[in-house]
Amino acid sequence: MTEITKEIVAEHGLSESEYELALEILGRTPNLTELGIFSVMWSEHCSYKSSKKWLKTLPTEAPWVICGPGENAGVIDIGDGQAAIFKMESHNHPSYIEPYQGAATGVGGILRDVFTMGARPIANMNALRFGRPDHPKTRHLVSGVVAGIGGYGNCMGIPTVGGETNFHESYDGNILVNAMTVGLADTDNIFYSAAAGVGNPVVYVGSKTGRDGIHGATMASAEFDDDSEEKRPTVQVGDPFTEKLLLEACLELMATDAIVAIQDMGAAGLTSSSFEMADKGGVGIQLDLDNVPMREEGMTPYEIMLSESQERMLMILKPGREEEARAIFHKWELDFAIIGKVTDTGRMVLTMHGDTVADLPVAPLADSAPEYDRPWVPTERPAPLGADDVAAPADLGATLVQMMGSANIASRKWIWEQYDHMVMGDTIQRPGGDAGVVRIHGTDKALAVTTDCTPRYCYAHPETGGAQAVVETWRNLTATGAKPLAITDCMNFGNPQRPEIMGQFVGCINGMREACVALDYPVVSGNVSLYNETNGTGIFPTPAIGGVGLLEKSEQMMTLAFKGAGETIMVVGETTGEMGQTIYLKEIEGREEGAPPAIDLAKERLNGDFVRSLIHGGDVTACHDIADGGLLVAISEMALAGNVGADLDLGEALPAHVAAFAEDQARYVITVSADNVEAVTEKAKNANVPLQIVGTTGHNEIKVGKSASVSLHDIRSAHTNWLPGLMAAPGSDKE
C-alpha cells in the first residue's frame, strides 16, 4: 500500500492545515483512495473554499425562483406549470490544453447539469475570451474551441443561440470557455440530488468509466506554468452521441416516478456525485466498485473514484423499480448498473474485491471543507475620463469603420455559423441580436437568453464592472421585449491567494449584488473558476453573466434591425460623455485608462422598464441597447442588420466623437415610425425618461451631420471581414 508522504499530500493540492483537518476528521491516516477523495472534494473547484463566503451574499430569491444555487442548476417559474432550468459553467483550463475536446466536454457537462434536473435543454450559449488576436496561439484556440462547442451542441441537436467573444492580451495564457444551457421542465416534475431511503439502490448509468481526466478537478484549480502543456494532463474526450442517448433515456425514465434522486458525474466524477447526494440527503452510501462499468482493465479504486469520464449519471431509485429503469437504458444501448445502496451510517463506504477500500464520514468531508476568508484589497476607482481627455479623430467616418472592424466589435458570424442555431425549430431570434430567443414549443411564450461581461470595466473598477455585467444582460433581454427574470454567473478570476485578485472578486460580487437587488434579478446558479493565471499574471476579472428573460407573447419580440427608411431614431437615456475604458480609447488611441462608465441602477430600471413597455405597446420598430463602442456603433449594427442607413444629428452638447463613442450606460436606441414620434415623446416625458431624437433611417450610408458619411458597404466589409480574415491568415499552428 502506498505510504502517504508529505510529497503525496502536496501533489494532491492539500495544504498542511487541510491535511491536518483531514487527519482529525478521519482519526487516522487516510489511504491513497481516501486522500484522493479529500483532495478533489476540497479542491477549489468542488468546495468553493475561497469564494463561498462572498457568493453567499448574492440575492437568490424572488417569487418566481423555484430553486436557487446549490443544486445542479437554477430553476425559475415561467408560468403555465413550466420552469426554465439553467446554469453556466467554465471549462477554461482543459480548453487551453486541448481546445476541441476541452470545449466540447464543457458543453457536455453543462447539458448534463440541466437535464439531470428533468429539463429538456432548449438553448445553448457560450461566453469566450481569447488572448490578443495576433498571439501565436489565438487562432488555434479559437478554431478548436468553436469547432468543439459546435461539434457537441450540433450533434446533441440543441441550438446554440448566442454568446459573446472577447480578445484581450490578459487571456493570452488562460482562455475562458464558459458554456450555458437553458432547459425546459414541468414545475411538478423537477429532479433533485438529495439521496433518501435507506436500502434504496444506487444506480450508475451512461458511459463506462475509464482513466479519463483523473485529477481534472484539481487541475482546474491549479495555476498554470509554462510546462503544463508538456505534462499533458489527462484530457477527456467527449461523446455527444452517447450524451444524446443519455438525455433521451433519462427523460424517458423521468416521465415515470421511479427516481428518488439523480446527479450527473461532472468534475471529480463518482466522488463528488456520491458525496453530494449523500450529504444533501443526510445519509450514508455504500458502493461496490466491482460493479462500476469499466472501460479498462485493472482500474484501482483511486482511479474509479477520481475518473472524469463523461456522459455518466448517478441515481437513487425507488425499491423495486430497477428492472423498469434497466429496460429503458438498455433500449438506448447504455450501461446500467446497480453499484450500491443508501445506508443510515452517514458514511461513504467503498468496497472492491471484498475489501473495504475507503470508509469516510460524509458530512464532515462535505461540510467542513475548508472555507477561507482570504485577505483582499479593494481596487481604487480611477478618475473618470470625459470629453476633454480624448482628442477628436481626424476623420470620424474612417474612425467608425475602424471601430466596426476592431477585435471586440467585429461580427461573430464566423463563429455562430458553425453552430446549429435553428435545430428544434423554435429559434425566433438567431445570434447577432441582443439576445437569442427561443419559443417554448407549442406555446405563445418565448425565452430570451444572453451572456455578457465587460472585463476591462471589471479590471478598472470591479464593483462597477460587476454591476455593469448584470445590467448589460438585463438591457439585452429588455431590448428584445423580454422581462428579465434571473441570472446565472461564471466567475473567472486569477489566484485568490493574492489580495488584489481577491479584491477583484469581492468587488465584482458587491457590484453584482447591488445590481441584482435593484433589478429584482436574482442569481439562481453559477460557477467559480479561479487560478486563471500563468506565471503570476492573472486574467482580467471576468464575472460572465447569463441572463434569462420571458416573453409572454412571442409575437411581441423586438429585433435590432432597422425595418425601413423614414423612421425616427431615438436614444433613450442620457449621454454625458463617459470615455474611460471605452473601445474607442483602446482601439483608436491605444489607451486603457480611466474609470468605467458609472452605473445608476435606478436609471437602468426606469429606462429599461420604459423601453419594454414601449415594445409591448407596439410603439417601437427596432431596439438595441448601447454597449461596447457607444451610440454610433449601436446604430451601425442596426443599419447593417436591416441594410438601411441612417442620417444623424448628434447635437452640439458634446464633441462628435464623444457623442458617438462614449459608453454611458442605461441607454437604448429605438426607432419609431414618424407618425408616432410625438406620442412616444409624450410617454417618455410622463415616465421621466430622457429621450433624444438623433436622426432618421434611410439611404445606404451612415451620415453624421457634416462630420461623417460612410457607406454601409464599407462598414459591412470592415465588420464582417475581420474575424474570417484573422482566421484565414497563414501560419497558424494546428488547424
Binding site: 490544453i97 486541448e98 476541441y100 475536446q101 458511459s207 475509464g210 482513466r211 479519463d212 499533458r232 484530457v235 477527456q236 474526450v237 467527449g238 461523446d239 452521441f241 452517447t242 472501460r295 479498462e296 469520464s309 463523461q310 444501448e333 499552428d733 494546428k734 488547424e735
Partner: protein, 80 residues
C-alpha cells in the same frame, strides 16, 4: 519522397468512433469483434527533400499540425 503518417488515439483515451463501429459490427452479425479503434492515415509527398532530413521534417509536421499529441500518438513511415 513520400511519407505515411498513422495517427491513433493514445491508450486509455476514449474512442467513441471505435465504440460505435464495434457496436454496428455486432449488429451486422460480426459478434466476435472487439477492441475496435479508429485512427487516421495521412499520406504526403514531401517534394524535394533529402532522405536524411525527411524524418525530422515529418516529425515536426506531426507535432505542429498533424497529430494532437495531447491525446494521439503518431507513427511515421517513409516511402519512396
Amino acid at each position: 519522397m513520400k511519407a505515411r503518417v498513422t495517427i491513433s488515439l493514445k491508450n486509455g483515451v476514449l474512442d467513441p468512433q471505435g465504440k460505435a463501429i464495434e457496436h454496428a459490427l455486432h449488429g451486422l452479425g460480426f459478434e466476435g469483434v472487439g477492441d475496435v479503434r479508429q485512427g487516421k492515415v495521412i499520406e504526403l509527398d514531401l517534394g524535394d527533400i533529402s532522405k536524411e532530413d525527411a524524418p525530422a521534417t515529418v516529425d515536426k509536421m506531426c507535432t505542429q499540425l498533424l497529430a494532437n499529441t495531447v491525446i494521439e500518438n503518431y507513427a511515421i513511415e517513409l516511402l519512396d
